[in-house]
Symmetry: C2
Subunit: 598 residues, 2 copies
């Protein structure tokens, strides 16, 4: 019996709601968010970050994507919830389900603050003709969640120019120029990473992500920033005052929007701005739907950021190399578990200069746990590590000079020939994509096949994209660039631009057996320019060996072997001076050239 | 002095037109068309099939794409016309130019019958705010083209069920089902290949393409076909009568459209239907903009078509092998030119069973001519062939059982090491794409890089797509599938579907030096289906050796060498029984395995 679920149904009945919709989100459409917003976990017990619940009087459904199928099966309240595997044949989407389940003239409830404008349009489109009433004014989960964790806004801090590389004033001027191009007289910006980037401030309001709860409204002349008072240290206030930013309380945004000029042309990213905000605009305002201009600007790292970022990745690489050496030499000699190993890695990271903690909860999955793409060990699942099989470790750090994201799969002892073939295929995919050379204008969609090919050749797929953008002391996932092979409906393809950072992380995930992922971060850089155009390529900025105990060169082409050896030689040359002589010696062996005997 | 150009300017002046726009097109937005429609050639002397002219009182501009830059420079009236290289840096598009060149309140003239609805929208969008008048009622070129060739409609014929594989009634029923899904009560179909496919008729009204000048209107109950009386043989009339197709005269379409019900919901493909037609619909009609449902249906070949198509390609392969053997053994021993060699190839094709001629004018480009992607030798340019360098031959045939398109580049004698490297790169690109294995849902955009990679590695690009769909006794270019790396604005990406045929034709084009292209047709087929989904791959259906005199295996990976040898072995096994013993012996040598000595 799931008490909160039953209480929710009582509230629904009182309000004559036929269904209640609960996506995992906060008021900013953030990917990660405070425990306060973990409504889907509270109700279903599933902790994955991509989850949507639909509750009806007699059904409770949970949608999640391929990264989380196994985890959902393990964690969720399967007695009361039914798992809907997104993207699988015969599984309806949330909206298809609602369109079918809601009666003519029925009522759908949800909290409008966690639903984007775009999603509202989609819902309306799917439900059109059914005369369904949308009741979006109440957060019903709040009423049944008696011990809901409170929001605790933290002090913000200024990300100074030697880190940021571009001043707040310059960024605001560029934003206003983009607004002008689009004919906008005002712009509502509610994505926390865009706001932190725009104002060169950081905070601590979102787990593992140095963001500040905030809303922003930029007009032709004025800049309004809505913050919790707790965020406003004296330094932050002084800095923002100097830039003539008008400060408001976080919750005053709704009232403020009502005061916008009646003829305002308001640029909003309908994917990011919640529908409740839009509902507070004067009705005569014209909405201009478009991507936040800051999203692309933020993705293209400036020279200062790039210089810092490389330094930050070297530090992260040192921590990773120390961890790998410790792991490979201590396994089987002392007890260790997924969590204890993660703690060792975290310790090595925290010892690095200007580290601010992790950029996301470390994924350390041993054996079958590695097959859950976004597994997070908790005491009940924490597996003991033995000198055999694979340990997949996906982790990253936040530093004053950047954010990192790296995955390595470590061979802890004997593995089968099939495991070697799979490990080698994943490395080949990563390396082949990292070594692409392409004309300006290419998008992730054009190149994704390079990473996926070795797996598809084996009749295997990883059910997710191949890579995502990475923030700079910001979110570990950021757009607009990505490596994927399927278009996202309604999203424009984003060409790769010099200065963009993107992960390259193919994998093989065999449910209940093992998982392998190898992830580097790539920096897009200029190559030759000639009569055919500007060629681009990637520079590897992740510095850590790929475990050679998993590599079998019989599965590699001569070119792939060269890619591997070149990468390893670069890792060694980059890190050697930052390591103790013993560590450097170990790294030299871990990055030795392979496949040359033939 | 260009007399017609000056006369056109006089007419423009009389009508107060500030610019006159002339795209290369017929009334059906066909790619190839009768000499009657060669207005751009008449005025500019450039014969390429992708051309747009803009005439102003003091400028005459000619836009064409990368396939035609060199050819345009050679052919066009450069004294009076200025070449605008589409896609090159700093070159405005036609619409950008018009937006800048037309004065506020000015007038733009064009013939509305050769402008699509979509293009009209684009023009209006680009010119909005300038208050420009569009004068689309007159074909001014017609008034200055005194010896314009008349249209000569030819008799049509029925493409019987043993060829077509699906009856007209079945196709119409499927079309109506698609119309119903889209909420359409009527559908205007004006793309000639879609119409020929839908009615299982063929004709001879377009060069190298067995099409019939026609318009079609399908309503929920009725089927109306508008034809020239010359097309209607007794057999065709009887066959169409049996399917209850209502026949009209070709030119009656405009009046007919005015009689459609005022509340009709009319499905039109705005890319294909001309704006003059749309202008004749009752104003109260609702336009439903969408792809012609027949375009996708036609692209997915049925089992009968596939069986026939393979047989047709075997015949075409026999002709190609005979030609290649003749060419390689006679070069340097007897005089030959681009045209005389093309004639030999055409003769071999015509000797094949059920051949109906060529599917396009053969491109036979020797040396520097090969660098012009769509070069067509004419007596003034016809180059003599010598036993050295490359001869690029892109050709195809029309057969009762299919349409073919193949390019081979032949090594006529000594070539440089660089030429070998380039020839091998092109073959590698073709083979790598042909051997792709991919999940259902993949589009050409996902795979194009495979063909392009060996060229991009060398810092070279071919400035066009990698491949296109091919008709079945229809147009040699058909959609919706394609291999390209750039999206076409406003076009949806088209997943590859089993049954689709698509060309795979990378190349290297070095202006004033040489051109290399190797083109196979690929049939998309099912591969393994498992928990990850349905895997697809391609089957090569072009049977002709790649000239091994151009191949240097030092540039190939072991896998690429295997692809080449496997392809060659398949060509030999497929064709041997259709050849004389001498020819088979020659083919065996031409398809011998390479690269094994190492």
């Amino acid at each position: 019996m799931n008490q909160p679920l039953e209480q929710l149904r009582v509230l629904m009945k009182e309000r004559s709601m036929d269904a209640y919709l609960i996506p995992s989100s906060d008021y900013h459409q953030s990917e990660y968010f405070d425990a306060h917003f973990e409504t889907t976990r509270f109700l279903s017990h599933f902790s994955g970050e991509a989850c949507t619940l639909v509750i009806t009087p007699d059904q409770a459904l949970l949608w999640t994507d391929g990264r989380f199928f196994v985890q959902a099966e393990e964690q969720m309240d399967t007695e009361n919830f039914q798992l809907c595997r997104m993207g699988m044949e015969g599984v309806p989407t949330v909206e298809e389900y609602l369109a079918q389940a809601l009666p003519e003239g029925g009522c759908l409830g949800f909290d409008g603050r966690i639903i984007s404008i775009r999603y509202l349009h989609k819902l309306k489109e799917m439900l059109k003709g059914k005369n369904v009433r949308l009741a979006w004014g109440e957060d019903l989960v709040d009423q049944v969640w008696t011990d809901r964790p409170a929001l605790k806004p933290q002090p913000a801090f200024v990300h100074e120019l030697n880190y940021a590389g571009k001043s707040r004033e310059e960024k605001l001027a560029e934003l206003r120029a983009e607004m002008k191009k689009l004919g906008a007289t005002a712009h509502i910006l509610t994505s926390l990473d865009d706001e932190a980037w725009l104002f060169n401030i950081r905070g601590n309001d979102v787990p593992c992500t140095p963001l500040v709860f905030s809303y922003t409204v930029v007009t032709e002349e004025e800049t309004h920033l809505f913050l919790y008072p707790e965020a406003l240290t004296e330094t932050v206030q002084k800095s923002l005052d100097e830039s003539h930013v008008v400060l408001h309380d976080y919750s005053d945004i709704y009232d403020f929007l009502e005061t916008l000029p009646r003829d305002a042309a308001v640029l909003v990213d309908e994917k990011r701005v919640n529908m409740a905000l839009a509902g507070h605009l004067p009705e005569s305002c014209r909405l201009i739907s478009g991507d936040n201009p800051t999203t692309l600007a933020k993705a293209i790292k400036n020279d200062t950021e790039i210089k810092n970022l490389i330094h930050c990745h070297i530090k992260d690489g040192v921590a990773m190399v120390r961890f790998m050496r410790w792991l490979k030499s201590h396994i089987g000699k002392e007890p260790m578990t997924e969590i204890s190993a993660s703690d060792v890695l975290e310790q090595y990271r925290r010892e690095q200069n200007e580290n601010l903690g992790l950029s996301f909860s470390t994924i350390a999955g041993y054996g079958p746990h590695g097959a859950m793409m976004h597994y997070m060990a908790v005491p009940e699942t924490d597996a003991e590590l033995h000198p055999e099989g694979f340990l997949l470790v996906d982790s990253g750090g936040q530093y004053m000079d950047g954010t990192t994201d790296i995955t390595r799969t470590f061979v802890l002892g004997p593995i089968s020939q099939e495991q070697k073939q799979h490990f080698t295929a994943v490395a080949r995919g990563m390396l082949n994509l990292a070594n692409a050379r392409f004309l300006e204008g290419c998008c992730g969609l054009n190149l994704d096949y390079l990473a996926r090919e070795p797996m598809w050749e084996l009749g295997i797929d990883y059910r997710c994209g191949t890579g995502h953008g990475v923030g700079y002391l910001l979110s570990v996932h950021e757009g607009p660039q990505s490596f994927r092979w399927k278009e996202r409906p309604g999203e424009k393809l984003c060409p790769l631009v010099p200065g963009m950072v993107i992960t390259d992380e193919p994998g093989i995930y065999l449910d209940y057996r093992y998982g392998i992922r190898t992830e580097n971060e790539l920096l897009c850089v200029r190559d030759e320019k000639n009569e055919y155009g500007q060629f681009l390529r990637f520079r590897n900025i992740t510095y850590c060996p790929i475990d050679l105990d998993g590599i079998d060169t019989q599965y590699m082409s001569p070119r792939e072997i060269r890619y591997l050896n070149d990468y390893h030689s670069m890792v060694y040359e980059t890190l050697r001076d930052y390591l103790t002589p013993d560590e450097a010696e170990w790294l030299k062996e871990a990055t030795r050239p392979v496949g040359l005997e033939k």
